[in-house]
């Protein structure tokens, strides 16, 4: 194709930008790049905070920007800018070319122009009109904090809502040309309870993707009851006694153990870094045979679902582990290039200022055959982790995460609540110890922070039993 003269024009959302995008991509290829990708974003977000019986914060924010990525051999250069003019984008291309030290135009590549646009956004454009107004959000958040006012011991009540609207255009030199709209809404409740020297926290977060009406349907009374009850049960809890013990992890957000302990280690980013013990274990047993684990971006409405990933690929359902055998890694474009693992529609980024990386979407352990009671009954002394906090995984595969609501198990029965527990372990050692999976799979929304920023994900699992794990406490 021919390269048209640079003239002053700018990317416009909702309009055809094909010629402009082709010009910019052609410019990169003509300078010697092997591959050029443009990720253009328009965001319009708002958040509302209710504290006690007042709205204390309403924060709208919006912005535009572009992330430009160029590959040469297996190296890549990434430039982000707020300047969406043709000149600005071409300047960014030049900068990326210079960064990669590309001097010879010897790529022998021909850019044949962009494909016909795959427009995933057209059916979603009305979403923006259909989301609740700030007034609606404020009213319902105040109802929810009022619902938390059940007891004098509740000293802090908070409700928060955020809505993220993201319009994206993705175009690359392999012809990919797609547009999409993403709408994420999340609402959370927090309480702090206090009685003399005793203190406890309770929190829950709910979230959805692509359901404008979701917040209106949210059962704030039920959510408030859950949070309140959790904080009351933990208020007088003793600190857990540290040690090695079997644990039962609850369903929903209990899935954070798999996310942290294993999921991150199955991202090709970790293979590239040499920080996963599983890089050479494809088709080998890495977990107990009761474990089947899945990562997908297709469950309707789930927080980690996508129509296309941030590299323009439709997400697939990836069975990562089947009956304990490692079957697949989570891969993006760079991951495929550098590790050979095929892309899975998992190239994700927080926004235009990050290059996409292989990231989890909706990740969960598949359901098994046992009831929750059977799992608990199988333990003579251990810990039931009903609600989990955040966690992380280090460069050696060691993970940790906090238990927000825990109960001791004694002789197969739940006994007293305990607080202050942290679960720590090593993915390679813990995965074979997940010996029983319940039949009550449920998912929960969350945010995952990693190399390409914070992305919306779903974690999930049925109740599971881990035969032995280190519980940090006092």
């Amino acid at each position: 194709m021919a390269f048209t003269n640079i003239k002053s024009c700018e990317i416009k959302f909702g309009e055809c930008n094909k010629q402009l995008l082709e010009d910019v991509i052609f410019y990169g290829i003509s300078l010697g790049a092997d591959f050029v990708e443009l990720f253009i974003e328009n965001s319009d977000n708002s958040s509302v905070l209710a504290e006690e019986d007042f709205i204390t914060s309403v924060s709208p924010s919006f912005g535009k920007g572009a992330g430009i990525r160029i590959f040469k051999d297996k190296r890549d250069g990434f430039v982000s800018t707020n300047d969406l003019s043709k000149e600005g984008l071409m300047r960014s291309i030049s900068q990326a070319i210079e960064m990669l030290d590309i001097t010879a135009k010897n790529n022998n590549l021909k850019f044949n122009g962009l494909n016909k646009i795959k427009d995933y956004s057209s059916s979603k454009i009305d979403w923006f009109r259909d989301v609740p107004t700030i007034n609606e959000v404020s009213e319902k958040l105040l109802l929810s904090t009022k619902s938390l006012k059940k007891d004098k011991k509740v000293v802090v009540r908070k409700g928060s809502y955020s809505r993220n609207w993201q319009e994206v255009i993705i175009a690359s030199s392999d012809g990919t040309y797609a547009a999409d709209i993403r709408l994420h809404q999340t609402v959370g409740l927090n309480v702090i309870a206090n009685d003399a020297q005793y203190k406890s926290n309770g929190s829950r977060r709910f979230g959805s993707h692509g359901i404008p009406n979701e917040f209106r349907l949210w059962d704030h009374e039920k959510a408030a009851n859950e949070v309140y009850e959790s904080s009351m049960k933990m208020l007088y809890a003793d600190y857990v006694q540290a040690g090695q013990m079997p644990v039962v992890l609850a369903n929903k957000f209990g899935g954070v153990i798999f996310h942290e302990a294993c999921g991150h280690l199955l991202e090709t980013t970790q293979i590239e870094r040499g920080t996963t013990p599983f890089s050479d274990k494809l088709n080998e047993k890495i977990a107990h045979e009761s474990v089947t684990a899945i990562d997908e971006g297709i469950s309707e409405g789930s927080f980690g679902s996508l129509s296309i990933d941030d590299e323009g690929m439709e997400p697939e359902k990836s069975i990562l582990i089947k009956d304990g055998i490692l079957k697949k890694f989570i891969s993006d474009r760079a991951g495929e290039l550098r590790t050979g693992h095929k892309r899975t529609g998992s190239g994700r980024r927080q926004n235009y200022s990050f290059a996409a990386a292989s990231r989890m979407r909706n990740t969960y352990i598949a359901k098994g055959q046992y009831t929750k009671e059977e799992l608990i009954n199988s333990i003579s002394e251990g810990l039931y982790c009903k609600s989990m906090g955040g966690g992380s995984v280090g460069a050696t595969g060691q993970f940790n995460f906090a238990v927000e609501e825990g109960y001791l198990i004694k002789n197969g029965k739940l006994t007293k609540p305990v607080k202050g527990a942290t679960l720590i372990g090593d993915a390679k050692e813990v995965m074979p110890k997940i010996s029983m999976c319940g039949n009550d799979l449920e998912l929960a929304p969350g945010f995952c922070g990693s190399v390409s920023g914070s992305v919306n994900v779903t974690v999930g699992q049925p109740h599971i039993k881990v035969d032995s794990i280190t519980v940090g406490g006092r």
Partner: protein, 450 residues
């Protein structure tokens, strides 16, 4: 666009929209970073970002806010309009105003702003650093987390009453985290971070040596028996903990009911008398110092704990008004203005006669756990309850010999910890988050594999 141009643009558009009272904070930045993998450039990154946060007051003196990266006339107009709409939902329970110190003189550190070194130079330096670190020991197989970056930025604050201040800076950072492996042993990892005003000012050799030394030192490890131990916290570990529990000093957290302190806590003895803690954003060793905060209030040195007593809280304009005092230069501009410390300096006070000064991490021969670095702060700290349970990297010392601890957590209560400091060593060390000596704590819970 520069500081004057954006201020003029906002002034003009606010006039057109009949918005009389406004302020804004802006940041214009250019960042460059490189990562390498066994000599090859892995990811090279450049970013140009302009962000403005605008606040607008309506006729009822309620404030609304918007953040935007669209600095075109249309973008600013939209932002002012949205902030105006948001002001209808302004907090009627707590009125916010301009900082009374937004025009007070500021102290700008005389530091040369460096010029960009360029990606090629960054890459060359990082490649060499990676190579030297890999060569430093046979067991070091990779440097999975590495990066060299330089940032050039300008920060601006202005308001409709004529306050206007700005500063521009350059900053560079190098981090090297090595991964070492030996046969039949678990991989071990550790690293080092160094900052400077420019790439040429970073002490690269010491970053390499420190990363290598720390990683190798952990190669011979063993598990630790769960129990209570005498613990020595490294300067970095103690600063990490104090920052995690900085809600103790934070007036915003006190008002919100999430602090261990209350409005009347000033003067309370919260630690051993031997401890002083200051917040000193303008300290000459603080590379990231800023001369004013998000509300334009000048940064200043503030005593937080003096001889064990809580001496001051950190304030924004609105918290200061509630506490009947002045803002302290610790505000972050937002719909709800946040408050946070800048850079902590910990020292041994003069009231140190009760300290057990024979406890010195370099020569003490009794048994103790040395906590070098605390991890997963976001998961293991309950700031509102005062409790923590955190994985750490460290050693068990016994009879003058040390052994790296395999995997363990340290747990406790911050109030207990502050009141059970039994020694504060003499020598202070500079870290990326402040300055502190080593501190010794009696009886902290350690959970190990045994």
């Amino acid at each position: 666009m520069n500081a004057t141009e954006i201020t003029t643009q906002i002034t003009n558009i606010a006039n057109i929209l009949n918005i009389d009272k406004w302020d804004f904070g802006a940041s214009f930045s250019n960042d460059y970073s490189v990562q390498v993998d066994r000599g090859a450039a892995k990811q090279l990154k450049a970013s140009q970002k302009n962000v403005v946060t605008l606040r607008v007051w309506n006729k009822e003196n309620l404030v609304g806010i918007t953040t935007t990266s669209d600095l075109s006339e249309t973008g600013i107009k939209k932002a002012l309009k949205q902030a105006n709409i948001a002001s209808e939902f302004g907090n009627k329970n707590e009125f916010t105003n301009f900082s009374p110190l937004a025009k007070a003189p500021i102290q700008v550190k005389e530091v040369d702003k460096k010029n960009p070194s360029g990606i090629k130079k960054l890459l060359k330096i990082l490649r060499e650093a990676e190579s030297k670190l890999l060569d430093s020991h046979d067991a070091i197989k990779s440097i999975p987390y590495n990066g060299l970056s330089e940032s050039f930025y300008e920060r601006i604050y202005a308001n409709s009453e004529g306050a206007f201040r700005n500063y521009s800076k350059s900053q560079a950072a190098l981090y090297l985290y090595a991964r070492a492996e030996e046969k039949n042993k678990k991989p071990r990892s550790s690293g080092s971070v160094k900052l400077g005003y420019g790439v040429d000012e970073i002490d690269i050799d010491s970053c390499i040596k420190e990363a290598s030394k720390k990683t190798i030192a952990h190669l011979d490890y063993s598990s630790i028996k769960t129990g209570k131990y005498l613990v020595c916290l490294s300067p970095e570990a103690f600063l990490t903990l104090i920052n995690a529990f900085s809600s103790i000093f934070n007036a915003r957290s006190i008002i919100d009911g999430v602090s261990l302190s209350n409005k009347n806590s000033i003067g309370e003895l919260i630690s051993v008398p031997a401890l002083n803690i200051f917040d000193d954003g303008l300290n000459e060793k603080n590379i990231s110092s800023a001369p004013f905060d998000g509300e334009g209030t000048p940064t200043k040195k503030l005593s937080l704990i003096y001889q064990g007593k809580l001496e001051n809280f950190l304030h924004s304009e609105s918290t200061a008004k509630i506490f009947n005092t002045n803002p302290t230069g610790h505000a972050g501009l937002g719909s709800k203005v946040s408050v946070s410390p800048d850079w902590l300096v910990v020292e041994r006070s003069n009231a140190c006669s009760n300290l057990d000064i024979k406890l010195d991490h370099t020569n003490y021969e009794g048994e103790f756990v040395y906590v070098e670095e605390l991890n997963a702060i976001h998961a293991g700290v309950r700031a509102s309850q005062g409790s923590f349970s955190l994985p750490f990297e460290g050693w068990l010392y016994k009879n003058g010999k040390r052994c790296s601890i395999e995997s363990a957590t340290v747990a406790g209560d911050i109030k207990y910890l502050l009141r059970n400091i039994i020694n504060i060593e003499d020598e202070e060390e500079l870290t990326t988050s402040g300055i502190s000596p080593h501190l010794w704590i009696n009886e902290l819970s350690i959970t190990g594999d045994e």
